[in-house]
């Protein structure tokens, strides 16, 4: 009957209506980085540069790649990144 879909907030409304992002880490020290190549041309060139800089700072880096940039990442890949990494950098480069 109504076109716009609206829900009523069931909370005490102390948090903003927009969903908040995950809190950023205070320090990068000791964290494992996941570098996710979304399979667009030359993402790898950009990520190679990022990896070099991170490794120079003594950080741990793992590389991942989506099968295609056109679709969202497969669940299995997302789960692997969540288990193996603390921080993820996703590269969009053309």
């Amino acid at each position: 009957m109504t076109d716009k879909r609206t829900l009523l907030d069931p909370t005490a409304e102390h948090a903003p209506a927009r969903r908040e992002r995950v809190t950023r880490p205070i320090s990068l020290e000791g964290l494992t980085f996941g570098l996710l190549d979304i399979s667009k041309d030359r993402s790898d060139i950009f990520l190679d540069q990022v990896e070099t800089q991170l490794v120079e700072r003594g950080l741990t880096v793992r590389r991942y790649q989506k099968p295609t940039f056109a679709r969202i990442a497969p669940t299995e890949l997302k789960q692997r990144i969540v288990v193996e990494c603390d921080v993820v950098i996703e590269a969009l480069a053309d």
């Binding site: 879909r5 829900l7 907030d9 209506a17």
Partner: protein
Amino acid sequence: MRKLPDGLIAIVKRDCPTCRLIEPVLGELATDQIPFVVYTQDDPTFPATVPDVVADTSLEQSYQLNIEIVPTLIRVEEGREVERIVGWNRREWQEFTGLDDLGKGLPDYRPGCGSKSVEPGISEELAARFGRARLKARQIDLAPLEDEIEACFERGWTDGLPVVPPTTTRVLRMLTGTSRTPEEIVGIIPPNNVECTVEKVAINAVMAGCKPEYLPVVLAAVEAACLEEFCMQGVLATTYFSAPVIIVNGPIAKAIGMNSGINALGQGNRANATIGRALQLVIRNIGGGEPGGIDRATLGNPGKYTFCFAEREHNTSWESLAVQRGFGPNVSTVTLFAGDGVQAVMDQISRTPESLARSLAASLRSVAHPKLTLADALLVVSPEHSRVFEEAGWSKQRLYRELMALLRIPSGDMVRGAHGIAEGIPKERISDQALISKFRPGGLHIVRAGGNAGLFSAIIGGWAASGPRGSQPVTKEIRL
């Protein structure tokens, strides 16, 4: 109040035989000098006798004019309704319009039909769409491709199971279950100590899957949880297993179809399942009590999704929990007990109250730990077990007294280190007592529930901080 056009207004629908019968009458009125507007609810080509019919297929006019029956004829003077008649009564219509020959040849009287604006489930839709804003909760618009149920998960509003998305229509429908106004304050919800309105409880009751008729029970449960003696903050924050167990007494349990019989503590009954869940969602969503946040339970228990049942009050000589707690037998109440999981007691052999009481007492010793006395207990006696007592003339009070006597345990068995177990009561707390009571006075609560077959009862252990230092059971009357 908006201004209406002066003259006469008729509201009709083609689906109504009386409206069809008076089609010529409406035509006569349309040719008269009095200004005349016809709203039609279903078919804008009806009545064919009137040239400028106004379509009210959205039912906005019908809703605003509060139409219950069609046909309705309204007289408006100076922008305000002064009079209305419903159905067809020839003499009434003639007097109302001042046209002596109106409807000549038609039957004297025909009743009208129900207005489309009051069909089941429609009125809340119309109130949500056209009503003046009664609700205060923040409205959250969903993105076009966002799934409603996933949206609730992603915003952290659920207990881990899907919830019913709380739309305005559903919340307005829920609010029809209570006579209280949406803005009334129900209580201060721990752990964040937030003021909670009837409207916010209704939103969470929708999400839990409640019917509107359950709302008074949910509201009473929320009120009870806010009572100082219940100590909801502590029950939530503890590393122990506890959560509110809701026991419903009185006529409302039957009226809303609660289960006190087969599988009373289990799944499958909508009222039992959703009332208990609604209370948990209120504490989570309004109070901010989330697992891993203020809720520090080491293991928790499945009753933290929902734990609610009715006492089986029929075919028994036993007084109900509510009566024992000072309420009349025809008063509906909720009692909250800070409890953990269900421990089975199996005794299929005892046929005397003495033997069965010893069985129950032996099992009750293990609440929290056989060598500790910290926790209350809720004993749920099944009908086959209660029959053993009732046939021997034992009231619930008698069973309570006998169990309390049987649960005076030699202090040598309870002291730390006894039986090669380090846990137990510190020696200095025992001093020279020969016997130690397992439960504090009033710390053993007895209710009756369950199916007809099965010589089993159930023990629901209480919080390790039972009594005045922690949580005490609380009872609230249910107001409709």
